[in-house]
């Protein structure tokens, strides 16, 4: 279904407002409500934003602005040729095709999962990779090393032994280097967590801090330093089996995990975010998990619609 002009116009108005850098909390809340009101809204916003990533990685930054604008405003000598000859299907197909070349669609070789999706891959060296929901990784294997660039989300990798060619997982926060082992990497906005299941890995943060992590240990680090090294609780990889296992963790962490398995907005009220809980929950049925949480904690789950659920204190 093709979203109509009104929706596109509304979305563009919102984008222009959000990008103005001058947005009140009320406006932001109104935008969230608009976005949650219809799945098409979210879809349009995402596609609209696709062009921005193109500019973010653009080679045009170093070009003098006058030169850039002069070039873009150059008249088209043969524009008449094309007008009217492009069928609708043609434009649709080509936007997809050309998109790949300019990098606003997935990079070549990128492995990724969507909301609520887990996938297992066998890499070309025989290593077994599992991606959690909403994760993106780009493998870059060469003769020197086997590199996985984890762009977002979480992975578990069982590395095929090859002492001659180290296996490296990289996030913006640092590099984890192994020879043959099993480990889990979770990339969040501000830090990366490494959980060692077998053997050991050497971590070098982006700033050069080093730390060896042994089997059964879990290290949290950011680009500057290692933040904490602790005994792993052993349940970090439960997601591979579709379960969420927590022991004495805050509700906010559980909700964060569920967000990767749900479309739409899952709002958590700050007054209940710190409630601690333990338990075993099904990831693939997040509705049920929310019901289970509601039964075991002093919270109320309100279903405004399937795309907008809020979790608040029970009165």
């Amino acid at each position: 279904m093709r979203p109509d002009e009104t929706l596109i116009d509304e979305a563009a108005q919102w984008m222009a407002l959000l990008q103005s850098g001058d947005v009140s909390l009320q406006e932001r809340a109104a935008f969230e409500a608009w976005r949650a009101a219809d799945p098409r809204h979210q879809q349009i916003i995402e596609q609209m934003g696709g062009g921005l990533s193109l500019l973010r990685h653009s080679d045009l930054r170093g070009v003098p602005r006058e030169s850039l604008l002069h070039s873009l405003n150059a008249p088209s000598s043969r524009r008449r040729f094309i007008s009217g000859s492009l069928s609708v299907i043609g434009i649709a197909v080509l936007a997809g095709l050309l998109g790949r070349r300019y990098g606003w669609l997935p990079e070549a070789g990128e492995l990724s999962t969507g909301t609520g999706e887990r996938r297992a891959f066998t890499l070309e060296d025989g290593s077994a990779l599992t991606l959690n929901a909403r994760s993106r990784v780009v493998p870059r294997f060469d003769s020197v090393e086997r590199l996985l660039d984890l762009r977002s989300g979480e992975l578990l990798v069982d590395v095929a032994k090859n002492p001659a060619r180290p296996f490296v997982v990289e996030t913006g926060h640092g590099r984890m280097r192994a020879l043959g082992t099993t480990f889990l990497v979770q990339r969040a906005e501000d830090a990366t967590r490494l959980v060692m299941l077998h053997s050991q890995v050497e971590v070098v943060t982006a700033s050069g801090a080093r730390q060896v992590v042994e089997a059964g240990e879990s290290l949290l680090f950011n680009e500057r330093q290692t933040l904490s090294l602790e005994r792993s609780k052993g349940q970090e990889s439960a997601w591979v089996q579709g379960r969420l296992e927590v022991r004495d963790r805050p509700l906010s962490e559980v909700i964060d995990s569920l967000r990767n398995y749900r479309r739409g907005i899952l709002h958590l009220s700050p007054e209940v975010a710190g409630l601690r809980l333990s338990g075993l929950f099904p990831l693939d049925d997040s509705d049920r998990t929310l019901q289970l949480l509601e039964r075991s904690l002093p919270i109320r789950v309100t279903w405004h619609n399937p795309y907008w659920v809020s979790v608040e204190a029970r009165l």
Partner: protein, 168 residues
């Protein structure tokens, strides 16, 4: 992917049936059989990259569309390149980008041109000042000699245009 891949079979059959036809069609447009062969080959490469070639119902319509787009892209690339080189020549400070830098800039120009094609010069400027340089709407307004709310309107137009360009 081996030759048993059904996608390759479908496109292989399409290639055998339609390659010469496409070369002739493109050649009529360009008046140059050599570039026509390049365009036709590139067209088939693009078809190979399609996510689901089995779904193609009108192969010749698709081939024509892609080929025309490639021809157009080539022409537009020349326009942009000419304008870019001209602007460098006119620049107060002489700039001499390497051939690699030049090629990258022209590809990027082509991509941005596709994204913003059809917008007014001021709307393009507003959008790029904001996205590339991080200027605020009021700073852009001063620069372009228009009000802040007019800048916001330019941004609305630009986002609509982006959506159309991204529509796949």
């Amino acid at each position: 992917m081996g030759s048993h891949n059904p996608h390759y079979q479908v496109i292989g059959q399409m290639f055998q049936k339609d390659y010469r036809w496409l070369c002739a069609a493109v050649s009529r447009t360009l008046g140059c059989p050599h570039s026509a062969q390049d365009i036709a080959s590139e067209t088939f490469l693009r078809v190979l990259a399609l996510p689901d070639p089995l779904a193609i119902r009108e192969p010749r319509a698709l081939l024509t569309t892609i080929a025309r787009r490639l021809v157009y892209e080539g022409w537009r690339r020349q326009d942009l390149e000419r304008a870019y080189l001209q602007s460098l020549a006119l620049a107060p400070e002489p700039v001499h980008p390497s051939p690699e830098e030049r090629a990258l800039v022209i590809e990027a120009l082509l991509a941005v041109d596709r994204l913003l094609n059809g917008l007014s010069a001021k709307a393009k400027a507003a959008f790029l000042y904001h996205q590339l340089d991080g200027l605020t709407y009021s700073e852009i307004g001063e620069h372009l000699g228009v009000s802040t709310s007019r800048v916001q309107q330019y941004m609305v137009e630009a986002f609509k245009r982006c959506y159309q360009a991204m529509q796949a």
